[in-house]
Amino acid sequence: MTNLLSYIIKRILAAIPLIFLLIIVTWIFAQLMPGDPSSFLPKTTPPAVIQAFRDKWRLDDPWYTQLWVYIKNLFRGDLGESANVAPGMPVKDLLKVLIPRTIEIAFIPMFLIPIVGIKTGLTTVKHKDQWQDTLVRGLAVLGLALPSFFLGLLLRYFFGYLLPDFTGGVFDLPTSGLKTPGYPDPPALTNFRIIDCIIANNLSLLLDTLVHLILPIACLTFLSFASITRQTRSSMLDVMEQDFIRTARAKGCSENVVYKKHALRNALIPTVTIAISDGFALLAGTTIIEITFNIRALGNNFVRAILSNDYWLIVGIVQVIGIIVILGNLLTDIVYTFIDPRIIYD
């Protein structure tokens, strides 16, 4: 147990220099952008404001002073101010609103994808070379081949136009945004809309939010379950040929027990790794779905920041995503040791 504990502590300590490295690499990347931060301010900015901006970030000083000021401000919680996307708003405040929105979209698929993927993968192995196998594999290939935006737009057209048109508006699923336009926001306590609605005890708002999440979640799940299904299928087929499966059958275990207890547990290790890392990648990878469904969350704002040259917002979002990814990898490693105790910690 001490071995495990020391391994976890070691991993956490190893993540800290990685985060420092990320901060510095992000800064270097930002330096490579054409022009310095002040040249990204809107053209109408008065010269005095620009000079104040240059003084604040020490843009007229050598690069090491700039880096030092940047890191100092970062640790004070000052990530700069957004220039064009939300003029004058501190990036920190903007991120406080945006990150919960992305988590809200990605949270349910993070759990739905492995469940659906492993279930369907198991089905393909149980009914190998039958119609169930063909169906699931076909769907998986479709999930890999369909561009996410195309599927999203098709869903929007079907549920936003064809189906209401056909049923005379009885069946009407909202197809864009996170709330019906004109609806009020609940008091922002956690910035998670669902949790805020629950705290404010406002059932209609909660229902409205949940209904808006249905299509993006369905889209994300359909597009991402394929890799897990395929991984489960191939590793299950490997395991099913091994001796201990024959032994289990010989001693009279039911097929259900053989599949779920003997085979699945041994086949699951690579699948779980993929599932966890995919789940954290999802937090940053919902960009295209956000744009397809007009949701103003992290990825959508990142694109808008790049398009409108919003220097500090780009830097801030890259850093946040990087830190999420590093923490995600850390968590993956730690969870991995719990799942597979045979792993060697060195």
Binding site: L18, L21, F29, A30, L32, M33, P34, V141, L142, L144, A145, L146, P147, S148, F149, F150, L153, L154, R156, Y157, G160, Y161, S234, A281, A284, G285, T287, I288, I291, T292, F302, V303, I306, L307, I314, V318, I321, G322, V325, I326, N329
Partner: protein, 366 residues
């Protein structure tokens, strides 16, 4: 009896055809000159070529079978070579049999059609490239009609012509990214596995860092830094392909590295470069080649996605950009997203099916 018959038929055919081969001097034709001068077993090779495996007169073959049955230890000299060649041919045939599944053929046909359309776009498209990229003030988002078979997108540009021309950017970006990604991936993978030590550690840590980022975010960051042109998109996708290929290559080389032929090459005095790229690389590259098709599909989807979110080159003739334009008029002009989206999906599907087929046929594991 049948097998004996078969083998003897072959040996017999050899005996017969030798004089005809000797008739015209092969060295006289320029094509065969090199082979005649430098291949010691030129005649031997010609004699045993499998094209001679034909039905022959029953008389001769019967005599040979009798010889085989009654003369002790009778065996025609090059028979082992022939057997080897037959086995080779047979393994080639089983490979083809494995490769020619309906789905793989479907994938291949899809890709061929799209490549054909892309290459011969100027002859196939009803409107010229200039005509589909200029801005008009009338005729935006017309429904399908006689003049415009699939309707028009913004600025009255013909959708069918845009679709036919649109594959060029995707395929170019795909091929370019594959060349960059696979070239550097293989290079770094081989170097990392061959030298080991701190080189290995450094390269692998860098790859880990790159892999832990979601690909799209990395590409978007590179685009933000370098500017929105198609060349940068190509470069960015090449860059994010490198670490995955490098890792795959490293694993493959590590399996080969300790084999005897590497030691033999070292003993013979070969330099590092020669051992790495002349001896180890050809033996360890097959899993990488299998994955090309998948990567191609992935890059094409990625490029389309990037153009859809508007970070590709502005105002470009590309399927993803067409979907982007059409999505702003989703409910009034759905045909403008349907066809380009379907084409992207079909292309990706073709590459994925082909990749699946290649993997099933060539991977020794499955």
């Amino acid at each position: 009896m049948t097998e004996v018959n078969y083998i003897n038929k072959i040996t017999m055919v050899q005996e017969e055809e030798i004089p005809t081969l000797k008739g015209p001097n092969p060295a006289k034709t320029l094509k065969n000159l090199g082979a005649f001068l430098f291949k010691r077993d030129f005649f031997q090779e010609n004699r045993t070529s499998l094209t001679l495996l034909k039905e022959n007169e029953p008389k001769q073959s019967r005599r040979n079978i009798l010889k085989f049955l009654f003369k002790p230890k009778y065996r025609h000299e090059p028979i082992e070579e022939i057997e080897y060649k037959i086995a080779q041919e047979k393994s080639k045939r089983t490979l083809m049999k494995k490769l020619l599944t309906p789905l793989t053929i479907l994938g291949f046909i899809i890709i061929s059609i799209i490549v054909f359309i892309t290459i011969f776009a100027p002859w196939l498209a009803p409107y010229s490239y200039v005509d589909i990229s200029i801005n008009r003030f009338t005729g935006s988002f017309q429904p399908p009609s006689k003049d415009h078979l699939l309707g028009t997108t913004e600025f009255g540009r013909d959708l069918l012509s845009r679709l036919i021309y649109g594959g060029r950017e995707s395929l170019t970006a795909g091929i370019g990214a594959i060349i960059i990604g696979y070239g550097f991936g293989i290079l770094f993978g081989v170097i990392s596995a061959y030298f080991g030590g701190w080189v290995d550690k450094f390269i692998m840590r860098t790859f880990d860092l790159m892999l832990s980022f979601p690909g799209l975010i990395l590409v978007m960051t590179i685009i933000a830094v370098m500017g929105r042109t198609m060349d940068n998109v190509l470069l960015a996708y090449g860059l994010i392909t490198i670490p995955g290929i490098g890792r795959l290559m490293r694993g493959s080389v590590l399996q080969e590295k300790n084999k005897i032929y590497v030691d033999a090459a070292e003993t013979a005095g070969a330099k590092h470069f020669r051992i790495m790229f002349n001896h180890i690389l050809p033996n360890s590259i097959s899993p990488i080649i299998i994955s090309i098709s998948f990567s191609m599909g992935g890059v094409i989807l990625g490029v389309a996605g990037l153009n859809f979110i508007g970070l590709g080159e502005p105002d470009i003739v590309e399927w993803g950009y067409d979907v982007n334009v059409g999505s702003q008029h989703l409910f009034s002009a759905p045909w403008t997203i349907l066809w380009p989206g379907l084409l992207i999906a079909m292309t990706a599907l073709g590459f994925i099916l082909l990749g699946d087929g290649l993997r099933d046929a060539l991977d020794p594991k499955s």
